[in-house]
């Protein structure tokens, strides 16, 4: 596996072109995001639909503190944990007042919150220009390692190493670290307590679990990884704008979690990869239409969210435990509506 991961960017780059290495980078990034959302949705059983807001916090942390926008140039390595912590603080700040709500009301509030954050990102260019509004922030510094920029193509022993391949290693290491940490968390006391809350909140409370505090932990942990992923995203793209943080992104990540199997770590990772690669392959649809129908009717990339929504609908109705979810999950997700 390790060898496959090491060789992957070169194999893909040689066979399919550099564009697909970029898709792989994004897939790995979505794995981190989806794993983070899985803490909230899968482990603690809270539907957070404004997840993209925390991703945005992380991305704008990097963008503001390491670009010409405010003329600050802090190092990526320092900002990576900072982005996570700031996002976690935002998560706890949102969670504190709203976590006592009924689960469906909580979902609605978080959904609205995600769009509110975008309103602010779009409009904080006046009277003082902070976010540069809809134009976004460009010129974000790349990460440096031992003085070498990671966002450059190098030639090592005659082999061309593109920056997308370098980022692949960076992101995959962070994704592996994330999944390791989260699997430890899942099997810890906190993880068990989350499971208890998810299955029966009243029983959990009666067993002496501080439900409110544990829900806040879940929100904070999920947000932390979103911020973390956001920071990498900003460094990778070199540019952020509110366009990247729409409601659709939140739903896309939710779809990855649900498709793979709510609560299952490998499932969620698979869901993220499948749903990143699938829409990209639709680009080929454009040429196909041209060839068959003589005219391009729909742009393949515009179908991304259509596909996500259909997948989400089908999975939730016909296979609520997702691709790799357990039998226990299936029962949890289909049991007749109980006390709450």
């Amino acid at each position: 596996v390790a060898l496959a991961l090491l060789g992957a960017p070169f194999a893909v780059g040689a066979l399919l072109g550099n564009y697909w290495v970029r898709v792989m980078d994004m897939a790995a990034l979505y794995v981190i995001l989806a794993l983070g959302l899985n803490v909230v949705v899968g482990m603690a059983g809270l539907l957070d639909l404004g997840y993209v807001a925390f991703y945005a916090v992380g991305a704008y942390t990097m963008a503001l503190l390491s670009s010409p926008q405010l003329n600050l140039h802090y190092s990526f390595w320092a900002l990576l944990p900072l982005a996570g912590v700031l996002a976690a603080i935002a998560g706890v700040a949102l969670g504190y007042p709203v976590l006592r709500l009924r689960s469906d009301y909580l979902a609605m509030v978080t959904l609205a919150f995600g769009e509110i954050v975008r309103i602010f990102l779009n409009n904080l260019d006046a009277p003082i220009n902070i976010t540069n509004g809809p134009m976004g922030i460009s010129g974000i510094s790349p990460p440096y390692l031992l003085g070498y920029s990671l966002k450059r193509n190098y030639e090592i022993f005659g082999v061309e190493v593109t920056y997308t391949a370098i980022f692949w290693y960076l992101i995959i290491v962070l994704a592996l670290a994330t999944s390791f940490l989260l699997s430890r968390l899942r099997d810890s006391r906190i993880g068990w307590a989350w499971g208890a809350i998810r299955e029966d909140e009243l029983a959990a409370r009666t067993s002496g679990i501080d439900v409110r505090r544990l829900k806040l932990y879940a929100f904070g942990t999920g947000a932390f990884f979103a911020g973390f992923a956001g920071c990498i995203f900003a460094a990778f793209q070199g540019f952020v704008s509110p366009e990247s943080f729409t409601l659709f992104e939140s739903i896309a990540v939710l779809c990855m979690v649900v498709l793979g199997g709510i609560g299952s770590l490998p499932g969620v990772a698979v869901g993220a990869v499948v749903l990143t690669v699938l829409p990209e392959s639709l680009r080929g649809l454009n040429d196909l239409q041209q060839a068959l129908l003589g005219h391009q009717y729909v742009n393949g990339t515009d179908l991304r969210m259509v596909i996500y929504s259909v997948v989400l609908l089908l999975v939730i109705i016909y296979r609520p435990q997702g691709l790799l979810g357990s039998e226990q999950r299936r029962r949890e997700l289909t049991a007749a509506r109980g006390g709450s």
Binding site: G45, L47, L49, P97, V98, R100, L101, R102, S103, D104, Y105, A107, M108, V109, L111, A112, F113, E115, I116, I119, N122, N123, A126, P127, L247, F248, I251, L254, C255, V258, V298, D302, L303, M305, V306, Y308, S309, V310, L312, L313, I316, I317, P320, E332, L333, T334, A335, A336, R337, G338, S340
Partner: protein, 311 residues
């Protein structure tokens, strides 16, 4: 300024009330957040523009007021019926298979359906705002210091008429009575021989018809529409319903009107209060603030939630 904000608030409030009614009818019966309700409204607006453009292409652009009224009425009926059918289809496809599932599953399917409709609308009508054909004369009437456009007047006249009709429907007709019984207690209603499936479908149809009419009226009033208007529409309908008491139809009307007024006054005074820093671009945050404050401090709303023991 105050008079103007009041008039704007009432117009806005009538719209929110119509949306909140449809939302609350479904919630009252199924305890389900029908998130796609906003998209039904959006489709109503889009269909209106398309239909009206087609009609205008037939009769020519300059029409008398009588013809314009007829066209507008036709458009409204087409939009209302297509939305009603869409509502029933949504119930069938996205909600019925999950009626017994835990509460988050139908919410996820509702959101999936809504994202689907948004993106299909985007593919059909594009990303940009599309304009509503100018069919009513410009101008309007002046009440004291406040001006109100003809389309605004239409809203203020239509909305109460429809609500009165809905009220009669709920009180007088058999299906309306069954609907009220079902929202009291679905199981008991079923034991009493009420075909609850039919009642649920009827609730989706009636609610979606209201959303469709609201779609025509809003796009006429604002003058343009795009595929994303459903999102804030459902958020505001939800906020209005929570404000009045979820599932409570009188509460939905009251909540809608209040939310419209709150929003209108907040937008009116925000630039002055913040020294011009925050303007109308922040208009949507007030519904959110109202929503969160009410959910935390008075989750049953002003008039109380129907069947609140299940909340």
């Amino acid at each position: 300024v105050i008079e103007q904000q009041f008039v704007n608030g009432v117009v806005l409030g009538c719209i929110y009330a119509m949306l909140a009614l449809g939302f609350s009818m479904v919630f009252g019966i199924l305890r389900l957040i029908n998130f796609a309700h906003g998209e039904v409204f959006m489709i109503g607006a889009m269909v209106s523009i398309t239909v009206l453009n087609l009609l205008l292409a037939k009769v020519g652009p300059s029409v008398s007021l009588v013809v314009a009224g007829t066209l507008l009425l036709t458009t409204m009926i087409v939009a209302a019926v297509s939305c009603g059918v869409l509502g029933m289809a949504l119930e069938r496809i996205a909600y019925r298979p999950l009626r017994k599932a835990p509460v988050l599953a139908p919410l996820i399917s509702a959101i999936a359906a809504s994202i689907f409709l948004q993106n299909v609308a985007m593919l059909i009508w594009g990303r940009q705002y599309i304009a509503f054909p100018a069919i009513l004369p410009t101008g309007g009437i002046q009440i004291g210091d406040a001006a109100i456009s003809w389309s605004g007047i239409l809203i203020v006249v239509c909305a109460p008429l429809l609500m009165a009709a809905l009220n009669q429907f709920m009180k007088r007709t058999m299906i309306g009575k069954s609907m009220r019984a079902t929202s009291e207690d679905l199981e008991v209603a079923a034991y009493m021989g009420i075909d609850t499936d039919r009642v649920i479908v009827a609730a989706f149809f009636v609610g979606s018809v209201l959303a469709g009419v609201a779609g025509t009226l809003v796009s006429l009033y604002i003058g343009a529409t795009n595929y994303f208007i459903g999102f804030w529409a459902i958020m505001k309908a939800f906020a209005a319903a929570v404000l009045g008491g979820v599932g409570n139809l009188t509460g939905a009307v009251l909540g809608g009107l209040l939310l419209g007024l709150i929003e209108s006054f907040a937008i009116g005074f925000l630039p002055d209060l913040t020294g011009g820093i925050m303007g109308t671009q922040y208009k949507d945050i007030f519904a959110f603030i109202v929503l969160v404050v009410f959910l935390i401090f008075r989750p049953s709303g002003l008039l109380g939630e129907q069947a609140s023991e299940r909340a």
